[in-house]
Symmetry: C2
Subunit: 222 residues, 2 copies
C-alpha cells in the first residue's frame, strides 16, 4: 500500500509541474484553457458542438479530446469546422498534463478558447490538474441529484457546474434545487448553469460567462 | 512509467488471488456472487431495489455497496429489508477484492444472491475481479448508444449487459439495435436485457435469468 501511495504522489507531483508550465504558456498567449469533466454521456461533446456553433464565427476555438478508445469525439468536433486532437489513453481512466503538453505545440498559438474534453469518468480526472484556468464539471439530469456528495472531488475542485439535459427533467425525479444546494455546500464558489442542448436553455448565459472569463484573462495579462 | 506498471501488475496479481479465494468460498456455499458496474446514475441501486421486491420473499439476498463517499446506497437497500454493507473507498475509483474479503465474514453463509454494487465508474472497476460468478454492466439510454466501443473493457469483461432506463428512449436519440450490435461485436457471448425500472420492462426476464444462474451454480456444486 505504501508503495502505491509513493508512486501516486510521484505522479501527481510531476503532473502538477507540467500543468503549471501549460497554464503559464496558455495564459501568456491569452488562451483560455478549459477542462471539461463528467460521467460518460453527460453531454460534453454535444456542449462543445453547441459552443462551436455559437462561437466559431467570432472566435478561434480548438479542442483536445480524451477517450479510452476511438476517434469518434474528435470527428464530431472536426465536422463543426473546429480543429480537434484526439488523445486515446488505451485504457487509462483520465488525462494527465504530460499528454496535453505533447499536443500543445500543434495547437495554433492565436487560439482564443482551448477546450479539453476529459475521459468520461466522474472520479479519476478530478485528481489531475491539466493547467486549465477553468475546470467545468457536467452533471446530467438522468444521473440523479444525489451525485455531488457521492463524487465530491469533481465538485469541490471545479469552478463551474453545468446541470445538463434539463429537457429531460419532466420525465425524471431530479430536483435541481437539491443538486445545486448540495454542490454549493461542497463548494460555495461554484458557478452553476442549467443547460439543455435540445432546447438551448442556458447556453447564451454560459457563452456570456465564457466571453467574460476570456476578457478577464486578457486584462490580467495585458 | 515502468515503476507505475510494476506496481499495477503487483496490485492486479494480489487482487486476482484474493478474488479466487472469494469465488471459491461463495461457490462452495452456493452463493451466487454478482458484480454490478456502470457509470454514476445508470440505475444500479434502483435495479437492486427492484430485485429486492421481486426476490426477497422467496430468496435470501444481501448487498455490498461501493461508493467513494456516503452511506446513501446502503440505506436505500436496507429500507427494502435487505442486509447491506457500505464500503466507502474515500476517493478510490473502484472496489478491490480485499475490500470484499474484509466484509464477507459478516455476510450470512446461507445467502442465495450476494450483489456487489461497484463504484459508479465505467472504466476502473472493470480491471478488478471481485470473485464474482457474473459480471453485469449497465448502460442507461441517456448515456448514448456509442459507449461500448469508447469504454470497451467493461463490455468485453462482462457476462450480462443491461440497457437501462428504456422508458426514456422516446425522448432520446439512443438506438437500441446499434448499442446491442456494438456490444456484441466486442463480446459475442454477452447476454443483453432491455430494462426500465419505471415500467418494469424486462425485469421478469432478468429475474428468471438470475434464478437459472443460481440453479446452475447449485447443480455444479451439488
Amino acid at each position: 500500500m505504501k508503495k502505491q501511495i509513493y508512486v501516486l504522489q510521484d505522479i501527481l507531483g510531476t503532473n502538477k509541474k507540467v500543468a503549471a508550465e501549460i497554464r503559464a504558456a496558455c495564459e501568456e498567449r491569452g488562451i483560455l484553457l478549459l477542462n471539461l469533466m463528467s460521467s460518460p454521456g453527460a453531454g460534453k461533446t454535444t456542449l462543445l458542438e453547441n459552443l462551436a456553433d455559437s462561437l466559431k464565427d467570432s472566435h478561434r476555438l480548438a479542442v483536445i479530446e480524451g477517450d479510452i478508445e476511438t476517434e469518434r469525439d474528435a470527428e464530431r468536433i472536426r465536422a463543426k469546422g473546429v480543429p480537434a486532437w484526439q488523445i486515446t489513453t488505451g485504457g487509462a481512466c483520465h488525462l494527465e498534463a504530460k499528454m496535453i503538453a505533447r499536443v500543445l505545440p500543434e495547437v495554433s498559438p492565436d487560439i482564443d478558447f482551448l477546450f479539453i474534453e476529459n475521459v468520461g469518468n466522474l472520479v479519476c480526472p478530478a485528481s489531475y490538474d491539466l493547467g486549465e484556468r477553468l475546470r467545468i464539471v457536467l452533471l446530467s439530469s438522468p444521473e440523479g441529484d444525489d451525485k455531488p456528495k457521492k463524487y465530491p472531488l469533481a465538485f469541490t475542485s471545479a469552478h463551474v457546474l453545468l446541470l445538463t439535459k434539463s429537457d429531460l427533467l419532466p420525465h425524471l425525479p431530479f430536483d435541481v434545487e437539491r443538486a445545486k444546494a448540495e454542490a454549493l455546500e461542497l463548494n460555495p464558489k461554484l458557478r452553476i448553469f442549467v443547460l439543455s442542448a435540445l432546447t438551448g436553455e442556458g447556453l447564451n448565459e454560459f457563452v456570456e460567462f465564457l466571453l467574460a472569463a476570456r476578457r478577464e484573462l486578457r486584462a490580467a495579462h495585458a
